[in-house]
Symmetry: C2
DNA sequence: GTCGCTATTGTTCAAGCGTATAATAATGCG
DNA sequence: CGCATTATTATACGCTTGAACAATAGCGAC
């Protein structure tokens, strides 16, 4: 009986491959289609290996959720430059690929639908959301100060909620029905909307 | 061997109960927790009955999705009165219960995560989305005309995309983290934001 | 009433699930 | 080079799944 040949992956690499394969399967087949066997096939290993790297399938899925949140928030959290540029980049990053694509929202939705069910996922979610909105709120505070507008905490909070909602909502529209929009249309609408909301130019015409 | 006693449900009623039980299970346990057996328990019948009313479990789930979309869009699609009132009601309805609650978004997300997987769900989704945005676009056209502002199709389209995004995004924020907002805060932010976007009062202070 | 129809039950089945475990191939170290 | 270590394969196990099916209980027609 001939065994398959294989190679031992370098430290931590196989772990990352398994998480990536998990996300591929969730995006392609949904959460219930992301079985241990299917994930293993995708990663090019056999099913038994999963339990060598993770305590359980649930734990692997939770780590995969952390990876999704990171992919959705990391880029936007590290914008640089003056407040105006950062605000513009924040909007553009969230509404163009790779953040805005149908795979992203499939993954996001799959996990969101489990947040109410699984307390562990709920905690991961809450952390990610609070971080994201605080990033935006700080960004708005800097921007409003630059523009010599009121930038008290309450005002920034309301703007952050509104703009966060706007960007999230447009992100979803774009992900779910990207073909209904022209190239760059969503970003343009977002820029114009934010200018209207804040009553200040963000120099979106410079783009 | 004693069989359970039961009663034969009136025309169509049992069908509706099964769909409702399906949604309960999806909201409570997620899509993969919504098994035929669990759904039957919730509906107070045995598992075998499902296949008497539906060709397959998948078909029952698809019909359940239609029910979800209807519950999310019906109320907002039937607002009445002058354009200003209708616009205000449209916003308020989408951001207060029963449309805005954690059960709604769990259901919505569960199905959205499957839209890419299942072509049947994709079609149901697309229909619902187009209808929803067209309703909003018509509403905005009436409103802008009333306010003697430009109401050409292109302008209305851009406003509809932006406001649809804003309302959807705030809906999600409210559903997922309702405890982070004060009573009526989201509706107030939405009203103020829409006024800023359109550059016109919608009389939100009258509420 | 009782008879026929069918909605509902209860049981069974093959397939697929997550997990456990033993055998083994690859790798690093002396 | 030979040996210990362990990453990986392969197989098996108990359980749940959606579906199929025969038996039967409720109910309307007559």
């Amino acid at each position: 009986m001939n065994r398959r040949t294989f190679h031992r992956a370098p430290e931590g690499e196989r772990r990352q491959e398994l998480i990536e394969a998990t996300l591929d399967c969730i995006a392609e087949f949904g959460l219930k289609g992301a079985t241990v066997r299917q994930i293993a096939i995708r990663a090019g290993v056999t099913a038994g290996l999963v339990r060598h790297y993770f305590e359980s399938k649930d734990q692997m899925v939770a780590e995969a959720y952390r990876a999704v949140i990171a992919s959705l928030t990391d880029k936007a959290a590290h914008v640089e430059g003056d407040p105006e540029t950062r605000l513009r980049d924040f909007i553009a990053i969230n509404l163009t690929e790779p953040v805005a694509d149908s795979r992203s929202i499939s993954l996001w939705a799959a996990f969101i639908s489990q947040v109410r069910v699984d307390p562990i996922l709920a905690e991961i979610h809450r952390d990610g959301y609070v971080t994201f909105r605080n990033t935006l709120q700080d960004l708005l505070a800097d921007f409003l100060t630059l523009k010599n507008k009121p930038a008290d905490a309450e005002t920034c909070r309301a703007y952050a909620i509104a703009i966060n909602g706007l960007v999230d909502g447009l992100w979803i529209e774009g992900c779910l029905a990207g073909d209904l929009f022209r190239e760059g249309e969503l970003v343009a609408i977002a820029m114009a909307s934010v200018e209207a909301l804040l009553g200040a130019s963000i120099g979106s015409d410079k783009q």
